[in-house]
């Protein structure tokens, strides 16, 4: 993405310095808007637009019809079932069925979309493609090119080259969260929160006035917030610092979560998990 610094031979340094000065002057004379219009090698895709192409809408319809049938079957099975364990087991069974169907219906479409995005990114020399949701300004919108490719005849052809090195890094937060000490803290916090919720629910039942209910809510929020500050916040800081240190060592400009990345980027997850161990 960002050009690497050129190693200039000493002979050319003076001339280069003059040229650079001229370039800077020229740049300074240009309006900021012109600078802003510069094309970087960061691209983005509006995935909502992808979901409206015919193959996805057909798949959505298919899944919706399947889900409607499943809902009816579910309602029939749940009728008269009062035992919470049985309810949970039935709900899980139906959720699994739906997940499997989603996988069957959308799996091939996602793979095709992935190849199309990679193909477009490669043809435009992009080092990274992210989700539009996290882009506030700039970057190349490659959505229409990807949509055209997906709507075209035949399957998109995967790029020959791997993505070029990128100054945009990413971490897989789920892997980081799975580290024993983080997972233990997270589980502990979730349990605490769940316990507090039960306590609050029980108090809410006996609360007589709106003021009482407000107080129950305040107490609950305060207990959860204190626990978060005590146990979670220090670990969050520690994780953030570790990511930041690795990013700086690797010369990265941004580090995003893997869930927002679609193509390319530099994976620093293993460096971060090593640093945190």
């Amino acid at each position: 993405m960002m050009r690497e610094k050129l190693r200039v031979p000493p002979f050319f340094r003076r001339r280069a310095a003059l040229a650079l000065g001229a370039l800077l002057l020229g740049s300074a004379l240009l309006a900021p808007a012109t600078l802003a219009a510069d094309v970087t090698d960061i691209g983005f895709v509006d995935q909502a637009a992808l979901s409206s192409i015919p193959s996805f809408t057909r798949a959505n319809r298919d899944l919706a019809a399947y889900k409607a049938g499943l809902d009816r079957e579910f309602a029939k099975r749940m009728r008269g079932v009062r035992d919470q364990n049985t309810q949970a087991r039935i709900a899980q069974e139906f959720q699994n069925k739906l997940n499997q169907r989603q996988h069957d219906v959308f799996g091939p479409l996602f793979e095709r979309a992935r190849v199309a995005i990679a193909s477009v990114a490669s043809s435009k020399n992009l080092s990274v493609v992210v989700d539009k949701r996290i882009v506030i300004f700039g970057g190349q919108d490659v959505t229409s090119s990807v949509v055209d490719l997906l709507n075209g005849p035949g399957d998109p052809i995967p790029p020959v080259n791997t993505p070029p090195p990128s100054n945009v890094g990413f971490v897989d937060q789920t892997q980081i969260d799975a580290l024993p000490k983080l997972k233990a803290a997270n589980d502990d916090f979730q349990k605490f929160q769940s316990d507090q919720q039960q306590i609050a629910q029980s108090k809410m039942k006996s609360a007589k006035s709106d003021a009482d209910k407000q107080q129950v809510l305040k107490d609950y929020q305060s207990a959860v917030s204190d626990k978060q500050k005590q146990e979670i916040a220090p670990l969050v800081d520690q994780t953030r610092n570790a990511i930041s240190d690795v990013a700086k060592k690797r010369g990265l400009l941004l580090v995003i979560d893997r869930s927002n990345l679609i193509y390319g980027g530099t994976d620093i997850t293993s460096d971060v998990t090593s640093a945190l161990k």
């Binding site: 979309a113 629910q201 209910k213 609950y220 969050v236």
Partner: protein
């Protein structure tokens, strides 16, 4: 559950909301990546001077946005609703309902057992009386040869009783199947009606709430815009170092008054809107409940009429069949060796006791049916209370979540516009809203905060 506005906590940032299909698609396109991420804060001193890539910590910017108080209020409402979802005033707990159902079931079982015992007792009593009457009749007809009166009576009763029991069992089974089918159809119809009425009310409420919320947001922004020049002038005065204490206090009080004026006006509007929505909610609930009750009553009435009709038919058919069982000519099974006169007398006696027994048994059965109907009504009320309450709470929660989503998107869009202007001024050509930790990019959060805060002015 963590509050959304605390979402800068990386460890616990995953959202537990149900994804719509569209968002599911967009999420899963990410080749199996997880859902969502949050911004994380950090210092910005490390930005490399030539970097033209920047980022903002959106969660922090959202907190300084003029509409944040509304967002926080919606978050609080959502959280309170989630906590109250199992509270007494919104829905009864599953355990409570289960307990009450058990109690009702016990009552029903007890009533059925009591009825069975009463019927068996009556049957024995009528058999005993019939035997005594037959014996007396045979004793009066002295000189007749053949079996004794008691023997004839008990033979008649045994043969007729066995066959009648078979017929009755089959008839009752058919009636029970018919009743179960009707009740099931009833339940399906009521459930579908309930869904349809709830959806209609939800649409009306949602449309109104959305309209009011948008009006509030517009009003807040309009106020902020209208007062901006006055506020700016006052702030400029305040920044004058030469201002004496009294004048400074005066300017500050003017600024406070301006804030208060805006806040009061918005507060009054919100109060009005809340009252409007509360009244609407009440009206919609009352209307839906009324319509539901009306239509459910009609459905139940039709079903009960059908069951009663079938019960009467079954009873008549049963009586007819049992009557026929009693003998080919409509009389009881009477062994040979009895004179025709005596045979006619015994047949009449049997028919009389059979009619008396049927009449008496009908009263007992009717009593049991009344008890069962009462209990069934209570069962239905119990189910109704539970599902009504649950669906009401869930609907309200969905409405609030949608309102929150709309408001949040509106705020983020406005923040995005401010950040874009800032980035252009700073010559930064790519800005993202989600980073997990600071790196070499430029952190625009602090500057953006100032711009966003100026929206208050």
């Amino acid at each position: 559950m963590l509050r959304a506005r605390s979402s800068n906590v990386v460890l616990v940032r995953r959202r537990g909301t149900t994804l719509s299909l569209a968002s599911l698609v967009t999420t899963l396109v990410l080749a199996g990546c997880g859902h969502g991420a949050s911004t994380s804060g950090g210092d910005l001193s490390s930005a490399s001077p030539d970097a033209r890539v920047g980022y903002v910590r959106m969660a922090e910017l959202v907190k300084v946005h003029p509409l944040y108080s509304q967002l926080a209020r919606l978050d609080d409402d959502l959280q309170a609703l989630q906590l109250r979802a199992l509270g007494g005033n919104i829905a009864r707990s599953g355990a409570d309902v289960q307990h009450e159902e058990l109690v009702l079931q016990h009552e029903l079982d007890a009533a059925a057992a009591q009825t069975k015992i009463a019927l068996a007792g009556k049957e024995q009593e009528y058999t005993r009386r019939e035997q005594a009457a037959i014996a007396a009749a045979l004793g009066a007809g002295a000189g007749a040869s053949g079996p004794g009166g008691a023997q004839i009576a008990s033979g008649m009763q045994a043969a007729a009783g066995l066959q009648a029991a078979d017929v009755e069992r089959a008839a009752n089974q058919n009636l029970q199947t018919y009743r179960s089918e009707l009740v099931k159809q009833d339940e399906d119809a009521v459930r579908s009606l309930q869904t349809s009425l709830s959806q209609r009310a939800a649409r009306e409420y949602g449309a109104r709430a959305e309209f009011l919320q948008k009006s509030e947001a517009d009003f807040a922004l309009q106020q902020a815009t209208e007062d901006s020049s006055e506020r700016l002038a006052l702030r400029t005065k305040l920044s004058n170092l030469a201002l004496d204490d009294a004048a400074r206090a005066d300017v500050k009080s003017q600024l406070d008054a301006l804030d208060k004026k805006e806040s009061d006006a918005l507060g009054a509007m919100k109060n009005r809107d809340e009252s409007t929505l509360a009244a609407l909610r009440q009206r919609l609930h009352a209307t839906a409940a009324f319509e539901l009750n009306e239509q459910v009553a009609q459905i139940r009435k039709r079903t009960i009429a059908k069951i009663n009709e079938r019960t009467v038919d079954t009873r008549q058919s049963l009586i007819g069949q049992i009557g026929r069982i009693a003998g080919p000519g409509g009389g009881p099974v009477i062994p040979g060796g009895v004179s025709p006169d005596m045979k006619a007398k015994l047949t009449a006696l049997h028919a009389k006791f059979q009619t008396d027994f049927n009449h008496d048994a009908s009263k007992t059965i009717a009593q049991f049916q009344k008890t069962r109907s009462d209990l069934t009504r209570r069962f239905q009320a119990l189910e109704g209370v539970d599902s009504d309450a649950q669906s009401g709470a869930s609907k309200e929660m969905n409405d609030l979540q949608r309102q929150r989503g709309d408001l949040y998107n509106q705020m983020v869009a406005q923040i995005g516009r401010e950040v874009k202007v800032l980035a252009q001024q700073r010559g930064i050509n790519f800005v993202t809203s989600d980073v997990v930790a600071p790196a070499g990019g430029v952190d625009l959060t602090a500057d953006a905060e100032k711009d966003i805060e100026s929206l208050h002015e």
